[in-house]
Symmetry: C2
Subunit: 324 residues, 2 copies
């Protein structure tokens, strides 16, 4: 068996994606889809799906339509989330609703979600796995909507608890990483127990991944992340760093902190928030949290008792230590 | 064989719908879904699906999840279309985005679309038809998005041609009526030829149905339709009556008519438009168009060579002569 690494699989996926861009009539529906597909990104979900499939098969070609399906789902959710969050840019470019208008972003997003199921049917038909793939997608997709709704509901709370926040990102982010791996395994003909072990691994890694995302938003290099530094602070968005910090403060300190967080409008306003984060030593807390997720994830991977899991292990570790 | 009529099937569907309202966490995601489900409506799509199934089976119970799926799809599309059209009311009540906010309407709509596929998987699994049902839904769903996009693109045209307009409503409305019937047949175990004949019947009836909708918008009794009389005129929305009238005028007359249509802001402004419609005798043109669709639809139904199609025939005729 030959196991492909992240770079090789990304390359294979990118060529498949560009040769399968959607065209149709009216083009006004399909152009925003091509636009978001071309924005790039890390392609983590499709690569995870391909890595899982690759544990059982050398030739990953039959898994490419399913890999495209999970990327379509992810991009659909970005398109709609960006409207809800009123985000002007993504990956250094205008978001779809900013560039094409809100209505087009709603409708092209809908079309991407539909196309996701269509691709899963195509992928699954050859392998008799269409129903299983679509069922897994439905389950994950509803959880992702629930996660996004929880995220929006948190806006009107002073602070959710750390475990409420983690449950939100489990649904909104981690679930799809786990499901991508699980789908790859099912498509490869794996038994449900092995597929579930991969799901569990992906869910842990997904939690650590999102915590790192939140960390990079606050402390990352804007030139590398392509995002505004401290963007979450300026938007008053409650991320993991905020939630953790809230939970370490006395009630009176918390009250003041929440006020200054909500009122932060300029980079100057963000400075005291950043200072408090440094004082509370959130960096080392984040590292501890991530190390625990990686450890648990690797234990799930161990349950597989399979060779060739090195690319997955490497990916898990690199996602936690990434700078963008 | 016993064939149920429209009223009986609506009753069966309504009980199923109310005992299958979705609950989950967070409730803020599911409440808008229950709200739109309870707004009522004619339930044409689920009833068509049940009528088709009923051609082969007395007991329509196994088709209820699929019937719910098409109603979910329809309500998802209403939820999103109402945002795009900025419609304040539907069926005499506030639209979802007006009542719950735009973001909730986007996200709950997404969840309804996902749940639609989940219900089709549930319905199809028992009958080994899950892949076929989901494939038909994907095809229809994409066409519906294309139709909605065409509708939006028409806003920036003086007037589409009558055949462009009909192609738009074929995609946006007629396709789902046809697909509902086709799904009912597939689920019943019908062969693909019979299922296709039912699709064709539904598509024709759907075209006539939408033409009647456009007619009622202009000439209907607002107390019966629950819509603002001449709402399309006041919103500058290009419906079938408008498109037909444009195409009967000389270039100069058309130019003046388009101007007065676009500028109509009050009921007084709408009066000259209405007068022109009456002068051009659009009522009798609509009748002619509908009669042709019904005739073609009934011919498709004849291709089935099955007994028990009376409820479908009755429905076709009543949809054309309806007042709301």
């Amino acid at each position: 068996m030959s196991q492909y690494d992240y770079t090789t699989l990304t390359g294979k996926f990118e060529s498949y994606l560009s040769s399968h861009q959607p065209y149709g009539s009216p083009d006004t529906l399909y152009e925003p889809i091509r636009y978001i597909n071309e924005l790039g990104g890390k392609r983590i979900r499709p690569v995870l799906l391909l890595m899982a499939y690759n544990l059982w098969h050398d030739d990953i070609t039959p898994a490419l339509p399913a890999a495209l399906a999970v990327e379509y789902f992810h991009n659909f959710s970005l398109m709609h989330d960006d409207i809800m969050d009123e985000a002007p840019t993504r990956r250094g470019k205008q978001t779809v609703h900013t560039y094409f208008g809100r209505n087009n972003a709603i409708l092209s997003g809908d079309a991407m979600l539909i196309r996701c199921f269509d691709l899963l049917l195509e992928a699954g038909k050859q392998k008799g796995a269409a129903v299983d793939l679509c069922s897994l997608m439905c389950k994950a997709a509803l959880e992702i909507c629930e996660g996004q709704q929880m995220d929006m509901d948190f806006e009107s709370l002073a602070s959710p608890t750390e475990s409420e926040y983690l449950e939100m990102i489990r649904k909104k982010t981690a679930c799809l990483l786990g499901t991508s791996l699980q789908m790859g395994a099912i498509l490869a003909g794996a038994d449900h127990q092995d597929a579930k072990a991969l799901y569990d691994f992906g869910e842990k890694i997904g939690l650590g991944f999102q915590v790192q995302d939140d960390y990079l938003d606050v402390f990352g290099d804007a030139n590398l992340t392509g995002k505004q530094k401290g963007g979450d602070i300026l938007r008053g968005k409650k991320n993991f760093i905020y939630v953790h910090t809230c939970n370490t403060l006395s009630p009176q300190e918390q009250k003041e902190f929440v006020q200054s967080y909500i009122n932060a409008a300029s980079e100057q306003d963000a400075d005291p928030v950043l200072e408090l984060y440094v004082k509370q030593n959130v960096g080392s807390y984040i590292e501890k949290v991530q190390a625990a997720y990686v450890e648990k994830g690797l234990a799930d991977l161990g349950d597989l008792q399979m060779e060739g899991t090195m690319p997955l292990k490497n990916l898990a570790i690199s996602l936690m230590s990434r700078h963008y």
